[in-house]
Amino acid sequence: MALLEVEDMVLSFSGLEVIRKLGFSVETGTIASLIGPNGAGKTSVFNCLTGFYRPDSGQITFNKRSIRRLKPHKITQAGMARTFQNLRLFKSMTVLENVMSGMHCRTSVGAMGAVFHTQSQRREEELIRLVSEECLSFVGLLDKKDRHAGNLPYGDQRRVEWARALATKPKLLLLDEPAAGLNHDEKQELIELILHIRNELGITILLIEHDMGLVMKVSEKITVIDYGKKIAEGSAEEVQNNPKVIEAYLGSEDEAL
Protein backbone atom coordinates (compact mmCIF):
# COMPACT_ATOMS: atom_id res chain seq x y z
CA MET A 1 0.00 0.00 0.00
CA ALA A 2 1.33 3.41 -0.87
CA LEU A 3 1.86 5.70 2.10
CA LEU A 4 2.63 8.65 -0.12
CA GLU A 5 1.34 9.13 -3.62
CA VAL A 6 2.18 12.08 -5.83
CA GLU A 7 0.33 12.53 -9.11
CA ASP A 8 0.85 15.09 -11.87
CA MET A 9 2.47 17.62 -9.57
CA VAL A 10 3.35 20.94 -11.23
CA LEU A 11 5.19 23.81 -9.57
CA SER A 12 6.29 27.01 -11.25
CA PHE A 13 8.06 30.16 -10.11
CA SER A 14 7.01 33.23 -12.10
CA GLY A 15 6.24 31.22 -15.22
CA LEU A 16 9.20 28.89 -15.03
CA GLU A 17 8.14 25.30 -14.44
CA VAL A 18 10.37 23.70 -11.85
CA ILE A 19 8.38 20.51 -11.43
CA ARG A 20 6.52 19.16 -14.44
CA LYS A 21 3.79 16.60 -14.02
CA LEU A 22 5.78 14.59 -11.53
CA GLY A 23 4.30 11.37 -10.20
CA PHE A 24 5.79 8.81 -7.83
CA SER A 25 4.83 6.85 -4.76
CA VAL A 26 6.39 5.55 -1.58
CA GLU A 27 5.20 2.22 -0.21
CA THR A 28 4.64 1.83 3.51
CA GLY A 29 7.68 0.50 5.31
CA THR A 30 10.19 1.03 2.51
CA ILE A 31 13.25 3.21 2.07
CA ALA A 32 12.90 5.22 -1.11
CA SER A 33 15.20 7.79 -2.71
CA LEU A 34 14.70 10.74 -4.96
CA ILE A 35 17.81 11.51 -6.99
CA GLY A 36 18.74 13.73 -9.87
CA PRO A 37 21.45 16.14 -11.04
CA ASN A 38 21.90 19.55 -9.41
CA GLY A 39 18.93 21.79 -9.96
CA ALA A 40 16.65 18.94 -10.97
CA GLY A 41 14.05 20.14 -8.47
CA LYS A 42 14.53 17.65 -5.65
CA THR A 43 14.33 20.07 -2.75
CA SER A 44 11.38 21.78 -4.42
CA VAL A 45 9.59 18.43 -4.37
CA PHE A 46 10.29 18.17 -0.64
CA ASN A 47 9.04 21.68 -0.07
CA CYS A 48 5.83 20.83 -1.89
CA LEU A 49 5.33 17.64 0.08
CA THR A 50 5.85 19.39 3.40
CA GLY A 51 3.64 22.35 2.54
CA PHE A 52 6.36 25.01 2.30
CA TYR A 53 5.52 25.52 -1.37
CA ARG A 54 2.08 25.13 -2.81
CA PRO A 55 2.12 23.26 -6.12
CA ASP A 56 0.09 24.77 -8.99
CA SER A 57 -1.72 21.54 -9.66
CA GLY A 58 -1.63 17.82 -9.03
CA GLN A 59 -2.48 15.54 -6.16
CA ILE A 60 -0.50 14.62 -3.06
CA THR A 61 -2.05 11.84 -1.04
CA PHE A 62 -0.51 10.93 2.27
CA ASN A 63 -1.91 8.17 4.45
CA LYS A 64 -5.09 8.15 2.28
CA ARG A 65 -5.62 11.85 2.75
CA SER A 66 -5.05 14.76 0.36
CA ILE A 67 -2.47 17.12 1.83
CA ARG A 68 -1.89 19.50 -1.05
CA ARG A 69 -3.60 22.43 0.61
CA LEU A 70 -2.38 21.86 4.14
CA LYS A 71 0.00 24.17 6.00
CA PRO A 72 3.40 22.76 7.02
CA HIS A 73 2.47 22.27 10.67
CA LYS A 74 -0.66 20.37 9.70
CA ILE A 75 1.36 18.07 7.48
CA THR A 76 3.77 17.37 10.32
CA GLN A 77 0.78 16.62 12.53
CA ALA A 78 -0.49 14.23 9.88
CA GLY A 79 2.73 12.29 10.29
CA MET A 80 5.33 13.56 7.83
CA ALA A 81 8.56 14.92 9.30
CA ARG A 82 11.56 16.39 7.55
CA THR A 83 15.15 17.45 8.02
CA PHE A 84 16.73 20.38 6.21
CA GLN A 85 19.55 20.40 3.71
CA ASN A 86 21.42 23.10 5.60
CA LEU A 87 20.87 22.55 9.29
CA ARG A 88 18.06 24.52 10.84
CA LEU A 89 18.49 23.95 14.55
CA PHE A 90 17.35 26.32 17.29
CA LYS A 91 20.97 27.16 17.94
CA SER A 92 20.80 29.01 21.23
CA MET A 93 18.67 26.35 22.89
CA THR A 94 19.85 23.11 24.43
CA VAL A 95 19.86 19.82 22.57
CA LEU A 96 17.01 18.54 24.70
CA GLU A 97 14.93 21.67 24.13
CA ASN A 98 15.50 21.27 20.40
CA VAL A 99 14.15 17.75 20.44
CA MET A 100 11.24 18.74 22.68
CA SER A 101 9.99 20.93 19.81
CA GLY A 102 9.04 17.76 17.98
CA MET A 103 6.60 16.78 20.70
CA HIS A 104 4.77 20.08 20.44
CA CYS A 105 2.27 18.82 17.91
CA ARG A 106 1.59 15.68 19.93
CA THR A 107 0.65 17.59 23.08
CA SER A 108 -1.95 20.19 23.81
CA VAL A 109 -1.71 22.06 27.12
CA GLY A 110 -2.06 25.81 26.66
CA ALA A 111 -1.61 28.99 28.66
CA MET A 112 -4.03 28.13 31.47
CA GLY A 113 -2.34 24.83 32.17
CA ALA A 114 1.04 26.53 32.11
CA VAL A 115 0.04 29.21 34.60
CA PHE A 116 -1.76 26.94 37.06
CA HIS A 117 0.49 23.90 36.65
CA THR A 118 -2.48 21.60 36.37
CA GLN A 119 -2.00 17.91 36.77
CA SER A 120 -2.38 17.26 33.06
CA GLN A 121 0.24 19.92 32.39
CA ARG A 122 2.76 18.25 34.70
CA ARG A 123 2.01 14.86 33.20
CA GLU A 124 2.45 16.23 29.71
CA GLU A 125 5.75 17.95 30.50
CA GLU A 126 7.01 14.68 31.90
CA LEU A 127 5.92 12.86 28.74
CA ILE A 128 7.58 15.45 26.48
CA ARG A 129 10.83 15.06 28.36
CA LEU A 130 10.63 11.28 28.35
CA VAL A 131 9.93 10.94 24.62
CA SER A 132 12.60 13.51 23.76
CA GLU A 133 15.19 11.69 25.79
CA GLU A 134 14.23 8.43 24.13
CA CYS A 135 14.72 9.99 20.72
CA LEU A 136 18.09 11.37 21.79
CA SER A 137 19.27 8.04 23.06
CA PHE A 138 18.11 6.48 19.80
CA VAL A 139 20.50 8.70 17.83
CA GLY A 140 23.14 8.35 20.55
CA LEU A 141 23.19 11.89 21.88
CA LEU A 142 21.61 11.51 25.30
CA ASP A 143 24.83 12.41 27.09
CA LYS A 144 24.90 15.78 25.31
CA LYS A 145 21.31 16.77 26.02
CA ASP A 146 22.16 19.86 28.06
CA ARG A 147 24.68 21.29 25.61
CA HIS A 148 23.74 24.21 23.41
CA ALA A 149 22.85 22.89 19.98
CA GLY A 150 24.92 25.53 18.18
CA ASN A 151 28.09 24.42 19.98
CA LEU A 152 28.00 20.79 18.83
CA PRO A 153 30.16 19.45 16.01
CA TYR A 154 28.48 19.26 12.61
CA GLY A 155 27.81 15.54 12.67
CA ASP A 156 26.12 15.78 16.06
CA GLN A 157 24.01 18.70 14.93
CA ARG A 158 22.67 16.50 12.12
CA ARG A 159 21.74 13.89 14.69
CA VAL A 160 19.87 16.49 16.72
CA GLU A 161 17.81 17.27 13.64
CA TRP A 162 17.04 13.59 13.27
CA ALA A 163 16.02 13.19 16.88
CA ARG A 164 13.87 16.28 16.57
CA ALA A 165 12.10 14.85 13.52
CA LEU A 166 11.64 11.50 15.25
CA ALA A 167 10.04 13.22 18.25
CA THR A 168 7.13 14.27 16.01
CA LYS A 169 6.33 10.53 15.82
CA PRO A 170 6.26 10.45 12.04
CA LYS A 171 5.00 7.75 9.72
CA LEU A 172 7.17 9.08 6.93
CA LEU A 173 10.56 10.73 7.39
CA LEU A 174 11.93 12.97 4.64
CA LEU A 175 15.70 13.37 4.71
CA ASP A 176 17.16 16.19 2.65
CA GLU A 177 20.77 15.26 1.77
CA PRO A 178 21.58 13.57 5.08
CA ALA A 179 25.12 12.65 4.01
CA ALA A 180 26.20 16.14 2.97
CA GLY A 181 29.36 17.13 4.80
CA LEU A 182 29.91 13.79 6.50
CA ASN A 183 33.16 11.82 6.32
CA HIS A 184 33.42 8.17 5.35
CA ASP A 185 32.93 6.72 8.85
CA GLU A 186 30.05 9.00 9.58
CA LYS A 187 28.39 7.88 6.35
CA GLN A 188 28.64 4.27 7.46
CA GLU A 189 26.97 5.20 10.75
CA LEU A 190 24.32 7.08 8.81
CA ILE A 191 23.45 4.02 6.73
CA GLU A 192 23.06 1.99 9.90
CA LEU A 193 20.92 4.68 11.46
CA ILE A 194 18.62 4.85 8.45
CA LEU A 195 18.13 1.10 8.45
CA HIS A 196 17.70 1.15 12.20
CA ILE A 197 14.94 3.74 12.03
CA ARG A 198 13.04 1.75 9.44
CA ASN A 199 13.56 -1.65 11.04
CA GLU A 200 13.16 -0.74 14.71
CA LEU A 201 10.64 2.07 14.55
CA GLY A 202 8.85 1.01 11.37
CA ILE A 203 9.12 4.50 9.89
CA THR A 204 8.98 4.82 6.11
CA ILE A 205 11.85 6.87 4.69
CA LEU A 206 12.22 9.05 1.61
CA LEU A 207 15.59 10.65 1.01
CA ILE A 208 17.22 13.05 -1.38
CA GLU A 209 20.89 12.38 -1.75
CA HIS A 210 23.89 13.12 -3.91
CA ASP A 211 26.06 10.35 -2.57
CA MET A 212 25.24 7.54 -5.02
CA GLY A 213 27.04 4.90 -2.98
CA LEU A 214 24.78 5.58 -0.02
CA VAL A 215 21.63 5.74 -2.15
CA MET A 216 22.38 2.45 -3.88
CA LYS A 217 23.08 0.75 -0.56
CA VAL A 218 19.95 1.69 1.36
CA SER A 219 17.20 2.36 -1.16
CA GLU A 220 14.64 -0.20 -2.16
CA LYS A 221 13.21 2.08 -4.79
CA ILE A 222 14.82 4.99 -6.56
CA THR A 223 13.07 7.73 -8.49
CA VAL A 224 15.27 9.79 -10.79
CA ILE A 225 14.19 13.25 -11.85
CA ASP A 226 15.73 15.75 -14.21
CA TYR A 227 14.37 19.20 -15.05
CA GLY A 228 11.44 18.46 -12.75
CA LYS A 229 10.39 15.38 -14.69
CA LYS A 230 10.63 11.74 -13.76
CA ILE A 231 13.05 10.01 -16.10
CA ALA A 232 13.45 6.62 -14.44
CA GLU A 233 12.29 4.56 -11.55
CA GLY A 234 13.13 1.19 -10.09
CA SER A 235 15.66 -0.71 -8.04
CA ALA A 236 19.25 0.43 -7.71
CA GLU A 237 20.37 -1.91 -10.45
CA GLU A 238 17.64 -0.93 -12.88
CA VAL A 239 18.34 2.74 -12.44
CA GLN A 240 22.09 2.39 -12.74
CA ASN A 241 21.78 0.78 -16.13
CA ASN A 242 19.14 3.09 -17.51
CA PRO A 243 20.61 5.09 -20.43
CA LYS A 244 18.44 8.11 -19.68
CA VAL A 245 19.88 8.33 -16.19
CA ILE A 246 23.42 8.06 -17.44
CA GLU A 247 22.68 10.79 -19.95
CA ALA A 248 21.18 13.09 -17.34
CA TYR A 249 24.19 12.74 -15.09
CA LEU A 250 26.96 12.70 -17.67
CA GLY A 251 25.39 14.61 -20.54
CA SER A 252 24.49 13.08 -23.88
CA GLU A 253 27.21 12.08 -26.29
CA ASP A 254 26.49 14.94 -28.69
CA GLU A 255 27.14 17.47 -25.95
CA ALA A 256 30.25 15.76 -24.72
CA LEU A 257 33.37 17.00 -26.45
Partner: protein, 321 residues
Protein backbone atom coordinates in the same frame (compact mmCIF):
# COMPACT_ATOMS: atom_id res chain seq x y z
CA UNK B 1 38.17 53.00 34.59
CA UNK B 2 37.27 49.68 36.17
CA UNK B 3 34.36 48.64 34.00
CA UNK B 4 35.85 45.20 33.55
CA UNK B 5 35.91 44.55 37.28
CA UNK B 6 32.36 45.90 37.43
CA UNK B 7 31.09 43.55 34.78
CA UNK B 8 32.84 40.60 36.35
CA UNK B 9 31.21 41.51 39.64
CA UNK B 10 27.83 41.56 37.91
CA UNK B 11 28.68 38.22 36.34
CA UNK B 12 29.61 36.81 39.72
CA UNK B 13 26.32 37.93 41.19
CA UNK B 14 24.50 36.42 38.23
CA UNK B 15 26.36 33.18 38.78
CA UNK B 16 25.49 33.20 42.42
CA UNK B 17 21.87 33.79 41.50
CA UNK B 18 21.84 30.67 39.35
CA UNK B 19 21.40 28.57 42.45
CA UNK B 20 17.77 28.02 43.27
CA UNK B 21 18.36 28.48 46.99
CA UNK B 22 20.15 31.82 46.63
CA UNK B 23 17.56 33.06 44.24
CA UNK B 24 14.81 32.30 46.71
CA UNK B 25 16.62 34.24 49.46
CA UNK B 26 17.01 37.28 47.23
CA UNK B 27 13.41 37.03 46.15
CA UNK B 28 12.16 36.92 49.73
CA UNK B 29 14.32 39.85 50.80
CA UNK B 30 13.09 41.90 47.85
CA UNK B 31 9.47 40.97 48.54
CA UNK B 32 9.86 41.97 52.19
CA UNK B 33 11.42 45.27 51.15
CA UNK B 34 8.59 45.94 48.72
CA UNK B 35 6.00 44.99 51.33
CA UNK B 36 7.36 47.19 54.10
CA UNK B 37 8.51 50.05 51.94
CA UNK B 38 5.35 52.15 52.55
CA UNK B 39 6.13 52.23 56.30
CA UNK B 40 9.21 54.37 55.72
CA UNK B 41 8.29 56.16 52.51
CA UNK B 42 6.73 59.57 52.12
CA UNK B 43 3.89 60.24 49.71
CA UNK B 44 6.14 61.29 46.87
CA UNK B 45 8.28 58.17 47.08
CA UNK B 46 5.17 56.04 47.31
CA UNK B 47 3.73 57.64 44.19
CA UNK B 48 6.93 57.09 42.23
CA UNK B 49 7.20 53.45 43.22
CA UNK B 50 3.53 52.80 42.50
CA UNK B 51 4.22 54.12 39.03
CA UNK B 52 7.22 51.81 38.77
CA UNK B 53 5.11 48.75 39.60
CA UNK B 54 2.57 49.94 37.09
CA UNK B 55 5.19 50.09 34.35
CA UNK B 56 6.47 46.70 35.48
CA UNK B 57 3.11 45.20 34.52
CA UNK B 58 3.06 46.93 31.15
CA UNK B 59 6.66 46.01 30.38
CA UNK B 60 6.11 42.39 31.36
CA UNK B 61 3.09 42.30 29.07
CA UNK B 62 5.02 43.72 26.13
CA UNK B 63 7.90 41.40 27.00
CA UNK B 64 5.69 38.44 26.14
CA UNK B 65 5.24 39.85 22.64
CA UNK B 66 8.71 41.27 22.03
CA UNK B 67 10.91 39.23 24.33
CA UNK B 68 9.31 35.81 24.12
CA UNK B 69 7.75 35.74 20.67
CA UNK B 70 10.19 38.19 19.05
CA UNK B 71 7.51 40.40 17.47
CA UNK B 72 8.08 44.15 17.40
CA UNK B 73 4.91 45.84 18.65
CA UNK B 74 4.99 49.62 18.36
CA UNK B 75 1.40 50.17 19.40
CA UNK B 76 1.27 48.49 22.77
CA UNK B 77 -0.26 51.58 24.39
CA UNK B 78 -3.40 50.77 22.41
CA UNK B 79 -4.17 47.73 24.57
CA UNK B 80 -3.50 49.74 27.69
CA UNK B 81 -5.91 52.34 26.28
CA UNK B 82 -8.60 49.76 25.50
CA UNK B 83 -8.47 48.49 29.10
CA UNK B 84 -8.52 51.97 30.61
CA UNK B 85 -11.38 53.20 28.42
CA UNK B 86 -13.45 50.05 28.95
CA UNK B 87 -13.31 50.48 32.70
CA UNK B 88 -13.67 54.24 32.48
CA UNK B 89 -16.75 54.13 30.27
CA UNK B 90 -18.45 51.29 32.14
CA UNK B 91 -17.98 52.83 35.59
CA UNK B 92 -18.56 56.49 34.81
CA UNK B 93 -21.32 56.21 32.20
CA UNK B 94 -23.08 52.97 33.05
CA UNK B 95 -22.42 52.84 36.79
CA UNK B 96 -20.99 49.34 36.64
CA UNK B 97 -19.02 48.20 39.69
CA UNK B 98 -15.29 48.50 39.07
CA UNK B 99 -14.49 44.88 39.86
CA UNK B 100 -17.01 43.73 37.27
CA UNK B 101 -15.39 45.88 34.62
CA UNK B 102 -12.09 44.00 34.89
CA UNK B 103 -13.29 40.94 32.97
CA UNK B 104 -14.78 43.32 30.41
CA UNK B 105 -11.48 45.19 30.10
CA UNK B 106 -9.59 41.93 29.70
CA UNK B 107 -12.10 40.73 27.14
CA UNK B 108 -11.99 43.94 25.09
CA UNK B 109 -8.20 44.08 25.02
CA UNK B 110 -8.14 40.42 23.98
CA UNK B 111 -10.54 41.15 21.16
CA UNK B 112 -8.41 44.11 20.11
CA UNK B 113 -5.41 41.80 20.12
CA UNK B 114 -7.18 39.26 17.95
CA UNK B 115 -8.50 41.88 15.53
CA UNK B 116 -5.08 43.38 14.88
CA UNK B 117 -3.02 40.23 15.33
CA UNK B 118 -5.17 37.75 13.44
CA UNK B 119 -4.63 39.07 9.93
CA UNK B 120 -1.20 40.66 10.45
CA UNK B 121 0.88 38.10 12.30
CA UNK B 122 1.73 36.27 9.10
CA UNK B 123 3.40 39.41 7.78
CA UNK B 124 7.13 40.07 7.79
CA UNK B 125 8.41 41.43 11.09
CA UNK B 126 9.05 44.96 9.82
CA UNK B 127 5.61 45.20 8.27
CA UNK B 128 4.13 44.03 11.53
CA UNK B 129 5.94 46.83 13.35
CA UNK B 130 4.41 49.42 11.02
CA UNK B 131 0.95 47.88 11.26
CA UNK B 132 1.02 47.94 15.06
CA UNK B 133 2.22 51.54 14.96
CA UNK B 134 -0.67 52.48 12.67
CA UNK B 135 -3.10 50.57 14.87
CA UNK B 136 -1.87 52.38 17.98
CA UNK B 137 -2.45 55.73 16.32
CA UNK B 138 -5.89 54.68 15.06
CA UNK B 139 -7.00 53.73 18.58
CA UNK B 140 -5.79 57.06 19.95
CA UNK B 141 -7.49 59.08 17.18
CA UNK B 142 -10.72 57.17 17.67
CA UNK B 143 -10.61 57.85 21.41
CA UNK B 144 -10.06 61.53 20.66
CA UNK B 145 -12.99 61.81 18.28
CA UNK B 146 -15.76 59.73 19.79
CA UNK B 147 -18.31 61.12 22.19
CA UNK B 148 -18.44 58.09 24.44
CA UNK B 149 -14.71 58.36 25.16
CA UNK B 150 -15.02 62.01 26.09
CA UNK B 151 -13.25 63.37 23.00
CA UNK B 152 -9.96 65.18 23.31
CA UNK B 153 -10.43 65.99 26.99
CA UNK B 154 -11.08 62.36 27.86
CA UNK B 155 -13.05 60.90 30.74
CA UNK B 156 -13.09 62.52 34.15
CA UNK B 157 -14.63 61.63 37.50
CA UNK B 158 -14.12 57.89 37.35
CA UNK B 159 -15.18 56.51 40.73
CA UNK B 160 -12.73 55.00 43.13
CA UNK B 161 -13.39 51.30 43.81
CA UNK B 162 -14.25 49.74 47.16
CA UNK B 163 -12.45 46.72 48.49
CA UNK B 164 -14.33 45.01 51.34
CA UNK B 165 -15.85 48.32 52.30
CA UNK B 166 -12.64 50.33 52.10
CA UNK B 167 -12.49 52.98 49.42
CA UNK B 168 -9.22 52.64 47.55
CA UNK B 169 -8.23 56.27 47.40
CA UNK B 170 -4.90 56.71 49.19
CA UNK B 171 -1.45 56.36 47.72
CA UNK B 172 -0.70 53.42 49.95
CA UNK B 173 -3.76 51.52 48.69
CA UNK B 174 -2.67 51.79 45.11
CA UNK B 175 0.89 50.98 46.02
CA UNK B 176 -0.25 47.59 47.24
CA UNK B 177 -2.72 47.12 44.37
CA UNK B 178 -0.02 47.60 41.77
CA UNK B 179 2.55 45.65 43.77
CA UNK B 180 0.21 42.65 43.89
CA UNK B 181 -0.59 43.00 40.19
CA UNK B 182 3.11 43.17 39.38
CA UNK B 183 3.79 40.04 41.42
CA UNK B 184 0.99 38.22 39.60
CA UNK B 185 2.40 39.44 36.28
CA UNK B 186 5.85 38.10 37.22
CA UNK B 187 4.40 34.79 38.29
CA UNK B 188 2.36 34.37 35.11
CA UNK B 189 5.32 35.39 32.93
CA UNK B 190 7.57 32.95 34.71
CA UNK B 191 5.17 30.06 34.36
CA UNK B 192 4.54 30.82 30.69
CA UNK B 193 8.24 31.14 29.93
CA UNK B 194 8.91 27.65 31.24
CA UNK B 195 6.09 25.88 29.48
CA UNK B 196 5.26 24.18 26.24
CA UNK B 197 3.91 27.48 24.94
CA UNK B 198 6.96 29.39 26.13
CA UNK B 199 9.25 27.01 24.28
CA UNK B 200 7.09 27.28 21.18
CA UNK B 201 7.58 31.08 21.24
CA UNK B 202 11.29 30.58 21.45
CA UNK B 203 11.30 28.11 18.55
CA UNK B 204 9.36 30.52 16.37
CA UNK B 205 11.64 33.39 17.38
CA UNK B 206 14.77 31.45 16.47
CA UNK B 207 13.67 29.86 13.20
CA UNK B 208 10.13 30.11 11.91
CA UNK B 209 10.53 27.55 9.15
CA UNK B 210 12.08 24.92 11.37
CA UNK B 211 9.40 25.52 14.00
CA UNK B 212 6.71 25.02 11.40
CA UNK B 213 8.37 21.87 10.15
CA UNK B 214 8.20 20.59 13.72
CA UNK B 215 4.43 20.95 13.63
CA UNK B 216 4.14 24.29 15.41
CA UNK B 217 1.42 26.59 14.18
CA UNK B 218 3.50 29.71 13.65
CA UNK B 219 0.65 32.17 13.37
CA UNK B 220 -1.38 30.59 16.17
CA UNK B 221 1.50 30.65 18.61
CA UNK B 222 2.26 34.30 17.81
CA UNK B 223 -1.38 35.20 18.22
CA UNK B 224 -1.32 33.57 21.64
CA UNK B 225 1.60 35.81 22.65
CA UNK B 226 -0.10 38.85 21.22
CA UNK B 227 -3.38 38.24 23.01
CA UNK B 228 -1.77 37.43 26.37
CA UNK B 229 0.34 40.58 26.05
CA UNK B 230 -2.84 42.53 25.28
CA UNK B 231 -4.51 41.14 28.40
CA UNK B 232 -1.67 42.39 30.61
CA UNK B 233 -2.13 45.82 29.05
CA UNK B 234 -5.91 45.66 29.53
CA UNK B 235 -5.65 44.85 33.25
CA UNK B 236 -3.04 47.54 33.83
CA UNK B 237 -5.26 50.00 31.96
CA UNK B 238 -8.34 49.16 34.05
CA UNK B 239 -6.51 49.84 37.31
CA UNK B 240 -4.81 52.89 35.84
CA UNK B 241 -8.24 54.39 35.10
CA UNK B 242 -9.44 54.13 38.71
CA UNK B 243 -6.14 55.24 40.15
CA UNK B 244 -6.05 58.42 38.08
CA UNK B 245 -9.87 58.88 38.06
CA UNK B 246 -9.35 60.56 34.69
CA UNK B 247 -7.95 59.39 31.38
CA UNK B 248 -7.21 61.29 28.20
CA UNK B 249 -6.14 60.19 24.72
CA UNK B 250 -2.77 61.87 25.14
CA UNK B 251 -1.73 59.22 27.67
CA UNK B 252 -1.74 56.62 24.92
CA UNK B 253 0.57 58.13 22.32
CA UNK B 254 3.25 56.52 20.21
CA UNK B 255 5.79 57.84 22.74
CA UNK B 256 4.07 55.83 25.45
CA UNK B 257 4.42 52.66 23.37
CA UNK B 258 8.07 53.44 22.73
CA UNK B 259 8.65 54.08 26.43
CA UNK B 260 7.26 50.68 27.37
CA UNK B 261 9.37 49.09 24.65
CA UNK B 262 12.41 50.87 26.03
CA UNK B 263 11.77 49.35 29.46
CA UNK B 264 11.79 45.90 27.89
CA UNK B 265 14.90 46.51 25.78
CA UNK B 266 16.83 48.25 28.55
CA UNK B 267 16.67 45.48 31.13
CA UNK B 268 16.92 42.65 28.65
CA UNK B 269 14.29 41.24 26.32
CA UNK B 270 12.83 37.98 27.54
CA UNK B 271 14.30 38.16 31.03
CA UNK B 272 11.86 38.84 33.86
CA UNK B 273 14.30 40.44 36.37
CA UNK B 274 15.75 42.49 33.53
CA UNK B 275 12.35 43.77 32.50
CA UNK B 276 11.56 44.77 36.10
CA UNK B 277 14.83 46.69 36.31
CA UNK B 278 14.03 48.30 32.96
CA UNK B 279 10.61 49.43 34.19
CA UNK B 280 12.12 50.89 37.37
CA UNK B 281 14.84 52.66 35.40
CA UNK B 282 12.17 54.14 33.16
CA UNK B 283 10.31 55.66 36.11
CA UNK B 284 13.16 56.50 38.48
CA UNK B 285 15.54 58.05 35.95
CA UNK B 286 13.46 61.18 35.21
CA UNK B 287 12.76 61.59 38.93
CA UNK B 288 16.44 61.51 39.81
CA UNK B 289 17.49 63.76 36.94
CA UNK B 290 14.72 66.30 37.09
CA UNK B 291 16.68 68.99 35.25
CA UNK B 292 16.40 67.05 32.04
CA UNK B 293 12.77 68.03 31.56
CA UNK B 294 11.83 67.78 27.93
CA UNK B 295 15.14 66.11 27.06
CA UNK B 296 13.96 62.95 28.80
CA UNK B 297 12.91 61.17 25.62
CA UNK B 298 16.10 62.23 23.87
CA UNK B 299 18.22 60.73 26.62
CA UNK B 300 16.10 57.59 26.61
CA UNK B 301 16.48 57.26 22.84
CA UNK B 302 20.25 57.62 23.08
CA UNK B 303 20.33 54.99 25.85
CA UNK B 304 18.27 52.68 23.67
CA UNK B 305 20.66 53.10 20.74
CA UNK B 306 23.72 52.51 22.92
CA UNK B 307 22.13 49.40 24.44
CA UNK B 308 21.30 47.98 21.02
CA UNK B 309 24.80 48.65 19.72
CA UNK B 310 26.89 47.54 22.67
CA UNK B 311 24.76 45.29 24.82
CA UNK B 312 21.75 44.02 22.86
CA UNK B 313 20.95 41.48 25.57
CA UNK B 314 20.18 44.35 27.99
CA UNK B 315 21.50 45.23 31.44
CA UNK B 316 20.63 41.93 33.05
CA UNK B 317 23.39 39.37 32.40
CA UNK B 318 22.82 36.26 30.37
CA UNK B 319 22.30 33.02 32.25
CA UNK B 320 25.22 30.63 32.12
CA UNK B 321 25.41 28.49 29.02
Amino acid sequence: MNTSSNTSMVANIANWLQHQHNRLVVLLVMAALAMFFPLIANNYMLEVLTNAWFYTILCLGLNIVVGYAGLLDLGYAAFFAVGAYTTGILTSQFGVNFWLTIPAAVFCSMVAGIIIGGPTLRLRSDYLAIVTLGFGEIVRIIARNLEITGGASGLIGIDRPYFFGIELSQGIHFYYVFLILAIIACFVSYRLQNSRLGRAWQYVREDEDAAEAMGINRVGVKLYAYVIGAMFGGVAGAFFAVKMTAISPETFTFSQSVLILLGVVLGGMGKIPGVIIGAFALVLFPEVFRDLGSMRMLVFAIVMLVIMLYRPEGIWPRGKS
